[in-house]
């Protein structure tokens, strides 16, 4: 293997999972995101010389291919049968986090796209703005708005859980209390 291949392999190890998540945010299934990542890597390898900003080039190229890939109706149907899980299962994952993950997946595409690029692909708002042809401020606005929705969802979930727990405690207390008729 040449030095270029080693660089590509390191790039793959560092970026593959984040880019697959980005593919999911763009509406692809896990397998589809893998196919698009494969295509993008092959295209990168065919270039006569490496691009000047490989990370930006790669994300842009991946995005274009993912959006083209998504258009097929057949793929849209098969996507429905795939696993909806975007993240690795963690032993520390609590139900609220699970809800937040689902909430992220259900955000509008523009918002979840910016969130995934910012958090898991370490892009700046300037880079995101350049990629999506929007201003960095718009990118930041979409990010904040999306996070707020997740936060509300999380708070709602925890309130609901607290409410349920309180109701459970009340029911248990009532069941344990002696009946009036019997006393």
């Amino acid at each position: 293997m040449t030095g270029n291949d080693h660089w590509l392999e390191r790039f793959y190890d560092a970026k593959a999972a984040g880019l697959i998540l980005y593919g999911r945010a763009l509406g692809l299934g896990h397998g589809e995101a893998e196919d698009v990542l494969h295509e993008t890597f092959l295209a990168l390898m065919r270039l006569p010389e490496p691009p000047r900003e490989p990370e930006n080039y790669f994300v842009r190229s991946f995005r274009n291919r993912a959006l083209n890939h998504k258009r097929s109706l057949w793929r849209r149907l098969t996507r429905e049968w795939e696993s909806h899980r975007w993240f690795e299962k963690s032993s520390e994952e609590n139900p609220a986090e699970r809800v937040a993950m689902e909430c992220l997946a259900e955000l509008p595409l523009e918002q979840r796209e910016v969130i995934v690029l910012k958090i898991w692909n370490h892009c700046t708002f300037e880079e995101i703005g350049g990629l999506l042809d929007i201003s960095p401020n718009t990118a930041a606005g979409r990010y904040r708005y999306g996070l707020q929705k997740i936060k509300f969802q999380l708070e709602g979930e925890s309130h609901e859980r607290e409410g349920n727990e309180a109701a459970g405690r009340t029911n248990a207390w009532l069941a344990a209390a002696p009946s009036v008729g019997r006393a």
Partner: protein, 119 residues
Amino acid sequence: MKLLEEQMRGWRPRHPSAGLKWRVFGARLLNLPRMVRLAGFATPVTACALMALLVWNSGSSFAPRAGAVPSALAMISNSDYAVSATSRQSVQNNSCAFNFDWTNAGNFNSNVSSFLPRN
């Protein structure tokens, strides 16, 4: 909001399947550089040429010249030649006499009788 961001950073995206890396870099290995491909093509050609050269060089050795060193190729391909070649320096081409000497001794002690009719 910062807390949520920190919490979300802890979520690990699903990894690609193990086969994907092979698909990406395995294809790269199949697409070998030109020098390697040329070497792959040249190896059998070189081997054939070398073989042809050996055969051509030792072609006349099958009818051995006096004092010529026996060719390994000729020895491999012709065992009779090998026997004669090893003893050529002392005894000139007497393989037939050496190989079939036992047939002339007339003391064939096998239990199986000869198929030839007895006179």
